[in-house]
Amino acid sequence: MFGTMSLFQLLGLGAASAMALLSALAMARNPSRRVPLLPWLALWSLAALAFAVPDVTTRFAHLLGIGRGADVVLYCAVFGGLLVAFRLSMAQRRLERELTLLVRELAVQQARRPEERA
């Protein structure tokens, strides 16, 4: 099987498998993180499968009525990228909000009354 793979496939398979393994190890080490890590394990496993057996993406594409497997991968990547950007943006807004509240609390606690005017 590996003998028929291109160098790109081998590198991709290795990287995706390593990431899937890391995700699985993290889940095993930290039970409370199992649910949030599950999508990552699934993502890297699917990526590894797609590198190992590229025809899988083509078959999946046909199921969805899309012509080529590469197109499915591209659409998924774009959608996933947008999703990640949105989540990061929301997280940043939340952090900014919390920073403002913290800065405000400190400012009010350390407020200084005016100096006596001459």
Binding site: S89, M90, R93, E96, R97, L99, T100, V103, R104, L106, A107, V108, Q110, A111, R112, R113, P114, E115, R117
Partner: protein, 269 residues
């Protein structure tokens, strides 16, 4: 200045494309000055000026001292993470001073000042610029209707009587901002992004919570006032444009960023 409340049915303006629903916030223009508005010392004691300042070390002291000398005893300056000595100069001039450890934006600074003033019993809160653009001479006309309970918000407008004093470039920019505000909030004001406002305690406690930290708060506050259902009106004020204030003011290129910030804030909360 004698001002007529919309409740009296005088000079009420239509601020919507359709008929305002019952109970929707009423807004009336100020009438031409018939008498000079005066505010007694006791009433002035109920008023707090809230000033957000960022790197205003060169301008803040005269602004604070001017307000105090004019008989407004409570001035709070929120130094929004300035790199200069804004806070110290404001305090020496006689203001209560608060300092944001890092810059969070004018909206955040005003909300900090509003919270502080409310905790000290402010009954009328005035947002006032740090760069000397606003005149204390306009304060009686601004706070009078709020002190008397005629409205819960008086919004300064430079276009009611003093449009000629506004530089042409700024006038065009503000016209675009006004159109944007009308489209997004449904509230039609003659001036957009005028930082001179007088707000009642009731309004601030129950309805004002600025979450847009930067300049888009100027649209957000109008939205919150409108959503409160409490009466508000525009009051004519004069803006003193100086080289300094022009230099410190918002540039046209910032308008797009403010619009995007406001829309994202509305979309994402």
């Amino acid at each position: 200045m004698t001002v007529a409340g919309a409740a009296d049915g005088v000079k009420a303006r239509r601020y919507f494309s359709g008929t305002p629903p019952a109970g929707y916030p009423r807004c009336a223009m100020s009438e031409p000055a018939a008498t000079i508005e005066t505010v007694s010392p006791n009433d002035r004691d109920r008023v707090w000026l809230v000033i957000a300042a960022f790197n205003e070390g060169g301008a803040i002291a005269p602004v604070v001292a001017g307000a105090l000398d004019d008989g407004w005893p409570h001035v709070v300056v929120v130094d929004d993470g300035s790199a200069d000595d804004t806070a110290e100069r404001a305090r020496q001039a006689g203001a209560h001073t608060l300092r944001h450890l890092v810059n969070r934006g004018q909206g955040a600074a005003l909300q900090t000042g509003i919270r502080y003033a409310l905790e000290r019993g402010a009954e009328v809160l005035v947002t006032f610029d740090a760069d000397g653009q606003h005149r204390t001479a306009d304060l009686p006309a601004m706070v009078g209707p709020v002190l008397r309970g005629e409205v819960d918000a008086a919004l300064g407008s430079r276009f009611l009587d003093h449009a000629e004093a506004v530089p042409v470039g700024r006038r065009l920019l503000l016209r675009a901002a006004r159109l944007f505000g009308t489209l997004t909030s449904g509230v039609r004001l003659t001036d957009a992004h005028n930082g001179f406002r007088a707000l009642s305690r009731r309004l601030c406690v129950e309805h004002i919570d600025l979450r847009l930290d930067r300049m888009a708060h100027a649209s957000e506050i109008v939205d919150q006032i409108a959503a409160s259902g409490l009466p508000f009106r525009e009051v004519s004020v004069r803006i003193e444009y100086t080289d300094y204030s022009r230099q410190k003011g918002q540039r046209g290129s910032a308008a797009l960023r403010i619009a995007v910030d406001y829309l994202l804030g509305r979309l994402l909360g």
